[in-house]
Symmetry: C2
Subunit: 177 residues, 2 copies
Amino acid sequence: MSFRGEQHPGVKTPTADSMGFRLNHTMLRVKDPEKSLAFYTGVFGMRVLRRLDFEELGFSLYFLAKLEEGEPVPEDAQERTVWTFRQTGLLELTHNWGTEAQDEFAYHDGNAEPQGFGHICFSVPDLEAAEAWFDASRVTFVKRSDQGRMKDVVFVKDVDGYWIEVVQADRLGALGS
Amino acid sequence: MSFRGEQHPGVKTPTADSMGFRLNHTMLRVKDPEKSLAFYTGVFGMRVLRRLDFEELGFSLYFLAKLEEGEPVPEDAQERTVWTFRQTGLLELTHNWGTEAQDEFAYHDGNAEPQGFGHICFSVPDLEAAEAWFDASRVTFVKRSDQGRMKDVVFVKDVDGYWIEVVQADRLGALGS
């Protein structure tokens, strides 16, 4: 590894203590898993690696990945759970049972006050093709690529209102300073 | 690809429209990047791939990755920006300039009300070693592996109070039902 990271105030050199750590997933609570699964599989092409149910605690977890062609995912469920927790870049959706039946129930997107979490981001090969696909899929836009001050950056909303940034990597080389 | 995803209500078969989509990053706003960078590089072993500054808008973005040994990261900054947006499993930290100087300023963790985003999760090779390392690093625990109803699952807080789940994959095969 020749590139060892940019140096900025605060940055430390990793030690052996964090060797093998991997950023496995990001967890978002969802109101209605049927709608969320339709969205993340149908529109963004993710697959459900594992659903884990916790009967006594009244919730289910769904682990989703954007699988590459030919990835050797174990067929056995327990082996696949272990495999799932070894990956990087997964999405975990948490469903607290019953929220889907409550008309007024809604989760907080983190961009309205109080702010915190901002968004997840997908990188796509062709931004205009993705925008056309989102339109065909009736996805709600926060901002199209030709709107606002950050050109070439798209924001859409998932079915709970969480923001999803969508970018095309090779158009962002000159981003920022 | 033999495994094509678990089937649950709502799940759809991905089409060619989402081919090449990758889950690139999760964005969290941070109050003081110097403290956040010390935490994510020093404790979790991440590297800063790119800082992007937006002078007119008054914010900076930091893209962090847990690099594997030997990953061919471009040295050239613009090439590295493009490379960054092609990866999966990154963390983006957003710093709105000036928040670090405001005593009372704090971001919302998503677990207190109003709920939404829950946590990010790192997978580690040895959970007890990781807990000892967090203690040595004076990291705040939400829950240790021997506490609560979900054994073998650790939660700590980052410097803004965002929750980080920490798990050891091969101890979770029997998780859920």
